[in-house]
């Protein structure tokens, strides 16, 4: 296995860039951008945007989303570690 895919959405609501857009923020907000990311490759493998962003906001929004992806990646890794490596008997 070369990498894991992690994902997180970033967006814009009430003129602020936000991470992990919830349903209310999506409905009332100005933009919603889900991101799929492979941290080892540094590659964005999924990206979709609905809503209006300036180029500057777009860049900041991806950067914000990638920070969220990296947090999710750590949680994913820790969950796997705990399951398979913490008890020492591999189950």
């Amino acid at each position: 296995m070369r990498d894991m895919v992690c994902s997180c959405a970033a967006g814009k609501a009430a003129d602020a860039l936000i991470l992990d857009v919830n349903n209310e923020e999506d409905q009332a907000g100005q933009a919603d951008m889900p991101i799929g990311y492979m941290p080892n490759f540094g590659k964005i493998t999924l990206l979709q945007l609905d809503g209006v962003l300036t180029t500057d906001e777009f860049k900041k929004c991806i950067e914000l989303g990638l920070e969220g992806c990296k947090q999710v990646y750590e949680i994913q890794k820790n969950a796997l570690r705990e399951k398979y490596f913490s008890s020492g008997d591999n189950n």
Binding site: T54, K59, I62
Partner: protein, 272 residues
């Protein structure tokens, strides 16, 4: 792309070799879209129509305007729906039958770009709130396929919408009744322009033709509005982009979108 035939593998290595020298297989610059020609009023009986030729890719778009029920959660807005179809004559690989996933994606990407930009002021298209609204339907037909159907469909649909007229209806006994000879211009707020870019190795190419399209690592379609803001974006293909590449793509989509917008404006000016 997976399952490349031997010919496609050879083609890919040829295209990549050329890109290393800063050239493309059809002699364009990496950031140069193919020539765009827009003709309007090509279907006289439609409420609006246009033909877009992007290099050797050709799309005809027709607009149909008719009263409809609003979406349940948007009773104070008219509706806009975009469809796409590839005619069998457009390419040897195109067949009759229900639309394939790649064609459904074209319709969605074009639809999203136009919808999210708010191009048509749908709040002006209400006959009776929650009951009856005016629907604008943009049907795109691909008649010649030489790659990048996303942009060709989008340019044809946008030009067709700009030239379209909205007939007048009045509510009588809870039903919309057509008032003859009272059509007005479609309320346009902005002109959304999509720009599709592909990545091959570390190279970003604008408006890939079919040879290039078939061996892309990944692609991205970014739609911008008249203010130069990004309004919609869709990534496709099995591989990814780096952050730097995406920022470059967003800048390209604004710069190229501006030029394409001027072409569409010019082509649609006389027909209003």
């Amino acid at each position: 792309m997976t399952n490349l035939s031997i010919i496609d593998k050879l083609k890919r290595s040829k295209i990549l070799d050329l890109l290393q020298e800063g050239k493309r297989i059809d002699d364009r610059a990496l950031d140069e879209p193919r020539p765009l020609v827009i003709d309007t009023g090509v279907i006289p009986h439609a409420n609006g129509s246009a033909r877009a030729r992007l290099g050797d890719t050709e799309v005809v778009s027709g607009i149909k305007v008719q009263p409809d029920k609003p979406f349940p959660d948007m009773g104070d807005k008219g509706i806009f729906i975009c469809t796409a179809e590839i005619l069998p004559l457009a390419h040897p690989s195109a067949e009759t039958g229900p639309p394939q996933p790649n064609v459904i994606e074209i319709a969605r990407v074009v639809d999203r770009g136009i919808r999210e930009s708010g191009m048509i002021d749908l709040s002006q298209m209400v006959l009776q709130k929650d009951k009856s609204v005016i629907g604008v339907f943009a049907d795109n037909v691909v008649t010649d396929h030489d790659g990048n159907l996303f942009d060709a469909c989008s340019y044809a649909a946008v030009a067709a919408i700009i030239t379209s007229k909205i007939p007048k209806w009045e509510m009588k006994d809870d039903k919309p009744v057509l008032i003859e000879d009272q059509a007005s211009d479609t309320p346009i707020t902005t002109i959304p322009i999509s720009v599709t870019m592909g990545r091959m190795g570390e190279f970003i190419i604008v408006d890939p033709n079919l040879d290039e399209w078939e061996c892309l690592d990944a692609r991205i379609t970014i739609t911008t509005n008249s203010d130069g803001n990004i309004v919609a974006l869709q990534k496709g293909g099995s591989d990814g982009f780096s952050l730097e590449q995406l920022v470059k793509c967003s800048e390209l989509s604004i710069a190229i979108g501006k030029k394409i917008r001027d072409i569409i404006k010019q082509a649609t000016e006389g027909s209003k």
